[in-house]
Symmetry: C2
Subunit: 132 residues, 2 copies
DNA sequence: AAATTTAACTTTCAAAATGCAAGTTAAATT
DNA sequence: AATTTAACTTGCATTTTGAAAGTTAAATTT
């Protein structure tokens, strides 16, 4: 996606404003997924060619890293960069929005509660775990 | 967009996970835009047929309202519903992300500063102004 | 009151993105 | 040596997007 404007919101959308990128980041962030096949088996079942192109773009955009697993060279280990980890507050606000406006979904209650009463602690914990 | 999963993040993307919807909400939220032609003249210049289809979807999804301007019946006045206003925290986090990771953009410094040191006051102010 | 302009779209069609299924390659396992 | 696994890529049909021109009703101008 080319740069559309100088707007900071538009800029975020230039990186993750498609239907899949934020779900990849979600899986890396909350579900401990690390490999291509992990990501392919998410609940939403994204097509393999789309997954491939999104991983490539996210890596080019500096939101994720890709490394070869030294114990099994077939496997590539995907992880979030610091910039990728910093997407977390956006995802938290999305979870809060759905907990309020679409309460009939699978909302992680614990997470929502902590997002409300210990937001910065939650962000700190997840961040340090992901950057460890 | 059909419902893809029970995930709260995926759910938000089902409503606004395209390249344009959040920019429409941004324009209604921060720039006081209210009419079709206002929205069409945003910096990113979205195609008129796409604008039309997004407004229809956002209205169906309960994020915006559409009313006829009583003083000029050609004009339709678009505004955010409470659910639409609640997108604000997501946009704020996007602005913060860009201020950190793409600082060479047009970032509203004032807004970023307040987002950091008076987040809930900022949200409260904008919310009450929009719902007035 | 007729002609023009404005606002909000709709339509058409080409181009790009998405999605499904099958195929490829290299490394690991049997 | 043969099979399986992981990570893709390729080919092609379908869907979405985008640019441009066209339509309609209400307001304004002449």
């Amino acid at each position: 996606m080319p740069t559309r404007s100088q707007c900071p919101i538009s800029n975020v959308l230039d990186h993750v404003g498609d239907k899949w990128s934020l779900l990849i980041i979600r899986d890396l962030m909350f579900f401990g997924k690390h490999t291509y096949s992990d990501l392919q088996n998410s609940e939403e079942k994204m097509a393999t060619n789309i997954l491939s192109s999104r991983l490539e773009k996210l890596e080019n955009d500096g939101l994720i890293n890709k490394q070869i697993d030294p114990t099994d060279k077939r496997k590539k280990v995907y992880s979030l960069t610091p910039a990728g980890v910093d997407i977390l507050p956006i995802l938290i606000e999305m979870i809060i929005w759905s907990s309020k406006h679409a309460p009939d979904l699978n909302i992680p209650t614990e997470l929502v509660a902590r997002a409300h009463n210990d937001r910065s602690g939650l962000i700190q914990d997840l961040t340090s775990r992901l950057l460890a």
